[in-house]
């Protein structure tokens, strides 16, 4: 079977690796829009921005390893431009590449911010190139403004504060990250930023971008203030990179993501999707259809898509429990499960050991911790087991007893 994987990042790489591990010896082609071999994104907003680390992004594997060890035909720097599901061909410019099995892993691309378009010093943070530009500005001692108090924006703010640079975070919503963690938790996140010296402006928008011939100089805000800045980082989210699928006839979500079933199949013969691009039903959470932008989901889905494609009769619905982590001002934030709940109960409010549990009906569906590395996966067990909320509460009480 000729296997084609479109999108040369985490999900695409894991698909290739899993196919080989499953014993597939047929040709595999990996098509990527970026010039470089697949690399890891989480460090782009963490280790890479730290002054102590080299300003360099290494790929997961060198191109030679991908070619020689994994036997992959690499097509890097050449985005797919279309898909013909009837003729089973991926279109790359003027070329057509035939497939028997196709995995769509084109992920997501940073949302555009028209107000800052073309202004030097205004950067999204999605690719290695973006991250290196931000790193260079931090090295030069930039005054920093971050638009959006999401995870990526907040990590950039942390990196800037670690260098003692002035940082303003501008968030349109009344609290940071309300959608991803819920209001009760957003409160502690606000405290984290303010304690670390971040000037966090919630319920605020940018009204004007100021620039000189050398680039951005500052922002005017809806609260009437002016924020001087030499670096503006956009943390305003990403949307699925599916422009190339527009005319494919594949079912797409209103945000452009690819709709798949619980085995990651799109419905078109031999076509699967995985990672940040895919909306899939999550059986552990009443078949909620979720498009996760989490490392572990992309890795798991990439590998599963390849296995299912090679042997559809063995395909099983994934039992994914969403998980992500983030590092703010030296604190490790971790979330497991889903935030859409009937109740978010803060069990321990202290920043040093914060814990909140999420209840839907009488079940536990999520847990959020700060510096809870030793604890978080215990709640995951209750969540995947669809256990009663009481069990998670008992777990928390037991953890407390150990600490006390």
């Amino acid at each position: 079977m000729r296997l084609v994987v479109v999108g040369a990042s985490l999900a695409g790489l894991r698909a290739v690796e899993a196919a080989r591990r499953a014993g597939c010896t047929d040709p595999i082609t990996l098509i990527g829009a970026e010039q470089s071999a697949p690399y890891d994104r989480p460090p782009l907003s963490k280790a890479l921005l730290c002054a102590d680390n080299p300003a360099q992004v290494l790929p997961f594997h060198a191109e030679g390893h991908l070619r020689d060890e994994l036997g992959v035909e690499l097509r890097l720097g050449t985005p797919a431009t279309g898909l013909d599901v009837d003729r089973r061909e991926v279109i790359v410019g003027t070329e057509r590449i035939g497939y028997d099995g196709l995995i769509i892993a084109t992920g997501a691309a940073a949302n555009a911010w028209p107000m800052g378009a073309g202004v030097a010093g205004v950067h999204p943070l999605r690719t290695a190139q973006d991250a290196l530009a931000i790193r260079a500005a931090l090295d030069a001692g930039a005054r920093v403004a971050v638009i959006g108090a999401g995870f990526i924006g907040s990590e950039v703010a942390s990196a800037a504060r670690a260098r003692d640079l002035p940082v303003t975070v501008i968030e349109a919503a009344p609290q940071p990250l309300t959608r991803s963690v819920g209001g009760a938790v957003a409160d502690v996140l606000t405290r984290l930023h303010r304690t670390a010296g971040v000037d966090l402006r919630v319920g605020t928008q940018v009204t004007q971008v100021h620039q000189s011939p050398s680039g951005v100089t500052g922002l005017s805000l809806s609260d009437g203030s002016h924020v001087p800045a030499d670096l503006v980082v956009l943390g305003i989210g990403a949307r699925p990179a599916t422009g190339w699928l527009r005319d494919s006839g594949l079912p797409l979500h209103s945000d452009g993501g690819v709709l798949v079933d619980a085995t990651l199949a799109t419905g078109a013969p031999g076509v699967y999707a995985a990672g940040d691009v895919a909306h899939s039903p999550h059986s552990v959470f009443g078949d909620d259809v979720l498009r996760l932008e989490h490392w572990t989901s992309a890795a798991e889905q990439g590998a599963a898509a390849a296995r299912h494609l090679l042997d559809p009769s063995a395909a099983r619905p994934l039992q994914t429990v969403p998980y992500f982590w983030s590092d703010w001002h030296g604190h490790r934030l971790q979330f497991v499960g889903v935030p859409s709940a009937d109740e978010v109960r803060v069990i321990r409010p202290e920043v040093e050991r914060f814990l909140a549990l999420y209840r839907r009906g009488d079940r536990v569906v999520g847990a959020f911790t700060i510096n809870g590395q030793r604890e978080i996966m215990r709640y995951r067990r209750h969540i995947v087991g669809q256990a009663p909320f009481e069990d998670a509460l008992a777990e928390a009480a037991a953890a407390d007893a150990v600490v006390a």
């Binding site: 989480p42 890795a299 971790q334 590395q373 996966m377 995951r380």
Partner: protein, 63 residues
């Protein structure tokens, strides 16, 4: 079959513990502690899942 953790890499993210709690645990120092470094062959699938799930690629499985 041998499981090896690169402690310098490990960030204590705990995914390995989620995949095979009897074998991995995030210890008091915030790093993975491996309870059984050479588990039975029957556990290969769980261990592969643990290795694959580690976001910092700190685990390797050696034959």
């Amino acid at each position: 079959m041998q499981i090896v953790a690169d402690i310098a890499q490990c960030e204590g993210l705990g995914m390995c513990e989620a995949m095979a709690p009897d074998i991995f645990e995030v210890g008091p120092e915030g790093h993975v502690v491996i309870h059984d470094p050479s588990p039975d062959e029957s556990r290969r699938q769980d261990l592969q899942a643990a290795v694959d799930s580690c976001p910092v690629l700190a685990l390797t499985l050696q034959d």
